[in-house]
């Protein structure tokens, strides 16, 4: 194993409600694929309400890249096609028939299969969208070859799922998935593991890939951090990335010929009574998961982690790329003199609250209160402490705000994703929405460059 990359800058936000390492079957009835999960996708629907579908049946496709198809994760009936403002497609909901019938795309010999066959099979079965590219975090372009592929085998976000548990006992599928990935690039497939947390033999004994070790606080598990250390992106270069459960899905497709969208989800957060792992399929409804398992407060349900996840309803669906649900309390209350009192129980990265000094190891129950109001940028040098890139975060944010394309490019916008700015957003004294700003910048660059 190569040397460990030590990431020093960052912050581990310690939250209450870590999931217990037991997996139970969720038995969800409803599933949904949500087109807004796919950055830059213009969906065109292929099914109607009431249609019978099997796992692998095409539901919609991308208008501008019509070979990219999105398919049903389970068999059943199309229950609803939900649209929002301007008829924007929001959800395609499927009622599961619990039979789990799947279209047979045929088994493959993993050693002899070539790149074109791999791409065709992944596209037609609808698992291609699992592969995403940097820059921009859009679905990978099947006609291109990335200079390398990155698999992050651990997640450093607050309460994140333990991927060791998730892949446990699936070594063959995981290896098959990695082998398939090696066909897609002329460069390396990087499997990145944590120096301490990763102990699973499934990861550590993987073959045909380069295993790299990282250590340090969040965001050391972010793909951008791995890319920046191993194979930085220059203008015009493309890197693909995915996560362990995606590799399993790919492995299963080529081993069995079927789209098996099985996934293990973590339910975590301070408001969950019994945080644990659930086994279900992509896009599962969280209704059963949270029923009688959360406090009676006004809660926020998040598909994903507290830093980058999407807010969903309590009967909403898990996002396509997400492996966890977090439930935290809403913070819609006025707080008397909150800014001036010592406040022993408040979390702050700065030293302005005594908790940093008195109880550095404390686990917090944090709510969604903004703790202040939006201001112009006054403080400087804060973001740099949680941003482990050779990029000037504040100056890049400002370049995006003034939409200076050249400056964004020069300052390294291709090397980052909005999730890398999540910690900056959390600790921002000015309470600005930095991830949205960066996302806009990325979208602007994508449109300008295409």
């Amino acid at each position: 194993m190569s040397t460990t990359f030590k990431i020093k800058k960052g912050l581990d936000i310690k939250l209450l409600g870590t999931a217990e390492k037991t997996v139970v079957d969720l038995g969800a009835k409803k599933f949904a694929i949500k087109p807004p999960d796919f950055a830059g996708c213009f969906p065109k629907v292929l099914v109607q309400e009431g249609d019978e579908v099997k796992a692998g049946t095409q539901l919609f496709y991308d208008k501008y890249r019509d070979n990219i198809r999105f398919t049903a994760p389970v068999s059943g009936k199309v229950k609803a096609i939900k649209r929002g403002a301007k008829r924007r497609l929001l959800e395609v909901v499927i009622d599961s028939d619990d039979k789990n019938e799947a279209i047979d795309f045929g088994k493959s010999d993993i050693n002899s299969i070539n790149k074109d066959e791999v791409v065709d099979k992944m596209l037609s079965s609808g698992i291609w969208p699992l592969l995403r590219q940097r820059p921009y975090s859009t679905i990978a372009d099947p006609s291109l070859a990335p200079k390398s592929i990155f698999v992050a085998a651990y997640d450093t976000a607050p309460l994140a799922p333990d991927y060791d548990l998730v892949v446990h006992g699936h070594g063959d599928e995981f290896q098959a998935g990695l082998d398939i990935l090696t066909k897609l690039t002329n460069g390396k497939v990087h499997l990145n593991v944590d120096a301490k947390k990763t102990t699973s033999k499934v990861f550590l004994n993987s073959k045909n890939v380069q295993i790299n070790t990282f250590s340090g606080p969040h965001p050391s598990g972010n793909v951008s951090v791995h890319i920046s250390k191993l194979d930085p992106i220059n203008k015009g270069e493309i890197v693909w990335y995915l996560y362990p459960q995606d590799v399993l899905t790919i492995g299963r497709l080529f081993l069995t010929g079927k789209y098996d969208s099985t996934r293990i989800f973590t339910l975590a957060g301070s408001e969950v009574l019994k945080p644990k792992y659930f086994k279900s399929h992509v896009g599962a409804s969280i209704k059963k998961m949270v029923a009688k398992n959360v406090t009676k407060n006004d809660n926020r349900y998040i598909s994903g982690n507290v830093l980058t996840g999407e807010k969903i309803e309590k009967d909403g669906y898990i996002g396509f790329y997400d492996s966890m649900i977090t439930v935290i309390p809403e913070g819609n209350y006025h707080e008397f003199f909150g800014w001036i009192l010592p406040n022993l129980n408040k979390f702050s990265f700065s030293g302005t609250f005594p908790s940093k000094w008195l109880t550095p190891k404390k686990k917090y129950k944090l709510d969604t209160n903004l703790h202040g109001a939006v201001r112009a940028y006054v403080m400087t040098g804060q973001f740099e402490k949680v941003f482990p890139f050779d990029i000037y975060p504040m100056q890049l944010i400002k370049a995006v705000l003034v939409e200076d394309i050249d400056m964004m490019e020069n300052m390294g916008i291709y090397e980052i994703d909005h999730e890398d700015f999540a910690l900056c957003e959390v600790i921002d004294t000015s309470k600005t929405e930095i991830q949205s700003i960066i996302r806009k910048g990325l979208d602007l660059m994508r449109i300008e460059m295409s």
Partner: protein, 382 residues
């Protein structure tokens, strides 16, 4: 507590758009958010946020100023009674200084916050907390005998031309508090320097010159000991004399992470190294002064800790901060020793570097961009 909240909620509609007191919304909002942290929740991006906000940041700076402020009050009284040849107890001295200081603080906040609220309303902003600190900084960097009307005009000038014309807190080029000080310095020079202004209601026979004032005219006989300089037993601007109390403030700022240590450290380093260089040169008595004394005298420590570190007007890149701070230290001592008109150079050095900070940042960022382009060229070659 609940009654207060209900009262505010009841009054709110009057101040909101369409209400009869719409014109006072900014003032209302300022008071409401002063009493209560708003109930706003995250709508996009990260769902949880740090408990710190601009108000917390500013109150922290405010607290860090208090040791120097209290000492300054005592020091006003101490020198007043010293000049009269009296030595009452410390509380009398402090109370004398407190009464001297209070009108200055009240005028500064009154004028400054009034203007801030007017501008916030015109621009339909919320009132920014920046003046919360500026309003305490300004009284601390003026001589105790400054007429109140001059302070009022200087504060108005600083808020309008130092800050609001650029767009308010966060957008200004030069430090507003120092803008006020510079305005006083150039507009009313006779009230800002010389021997008469540093000691409040001084007896006529007493020499009230500051150590730096004496040094400028080559009088090194009455220099306080370094211990007195460090403790602050000398006449000067109200809050700047006690290096010890300023260092207590610095400790608070650094521990809370509000001020950047890079700037503080490099200002002191710049000043010390410049002092050493002068020692080597050694043409006159002033050049031969112990570099440490330079750091303890005048507004050097105050400027390094509270003024140079203003994040808005300082260099904003970590590398830039070293250059920015170092040059402030160097230029401050340079002006002190060489300029025959100005006994103190810290204010001018900081204002000058405020103007150059964006340029420093520009070159730091250029070097980052060049590194990125170089990496790309290597990648293309392979």
């Amino acid at each position: 507590m609940k009654a207060l909240r209900e009262f505010i909620d009841k009054q709110k509609p009057h101040f909101e758009k369409g209400g009869k007191l719409e014109k006072f919304y900014s003032a209302f909002d300022a008071i409401e958010t002063l009493l209560y942290v708003p109930d706003k929740v995250t709508t996009a991006g990260a769902h949880i946020r740090d408990a710190i906000d601009m108000k917390r940041t500013m109150i922290t700076v405010f607290i860090s100023l208090i040791p120097a402020l209290l000492f300054g009050m005592w020091n006003i009284g101490y020198h007043h009674f010293l000049s009269l040849g009296e030595s009452p107890d410390h509380w009398t001295m402090f109370f004398y200084g407190f009464l001297k200081m209070l009108p200055i603080i009240v005028v500064t906040y009154g004028v400054g916050l009034g203007l801030e609220i007017v501008f916030a309303q015109i621009r339909s902003h919320e009132v920014n907390e920046g003046f919360f600190v500026s309003g305490l900084l300004i009284p601390m960097i003026v001589p105790p005998e400054t007429p109140l009307w001059q302070i009022a005009i200087a504060v108005a000038f600083a808020v309008i031309f130092g800050k609001e014309v650029f767009g308010g807190s966060g957008m200004n080029i030069v430090n507003p508090a120092l803008t006020a000080r510079a305005f006083l310095f150039f507009a009313y020079p006779s009230d800002m320097s010389g021997e008469r202004v540093w000691i409040s209601e001084m007896a006529d026979s007493f020499s009230g010159a500051t150590p730096l004032g004496n040094a400028l005219v080559g009088n090194f006989d009455n220099m306080p000991t370094q211990w007195d300089m460090f403790m602050g037993y000398m006449p000067g601007s109200i809050g700047e004399t006690s290096t010890l109390m300023i260092l207590v403030g610095a400790l608070i700022l650094l521990a809370t992470g509000i001020a950047n240590w890079r700037i503080m450290l490099s200002v002191f380093a710049g000043g010390y190294i410049m002092g050493l260089l002068f020692n080597l040169w050694g043409l006159n008595d002033y050049m031969n002064m112990d570099p440490l004394s330079h750091l303890l005298l005048g507004g050097f420590a105050f400027g390094a800790v509270f003024m140079a570190t203003d994040p808005v007007t300082a260099a904003q890149t970590n590398k830039g901060m070293y250059i920015y701070g170092f040059l402030i230290g160097v230029i401050a001592i340079l002006i002190r020793v060489f300029n025959p008109a100005y006994p103190e150079g810290v204010m001018l050095a900081i204002l000058l570097m405020n103007v150059f900070a964006p340029l420093i940042d520009h070159y730091v960022i250029e070097s980052n961009i060049k590194k990125r382009l170089k990496r790309m060229k290597i990648a293309i070659k392979n």
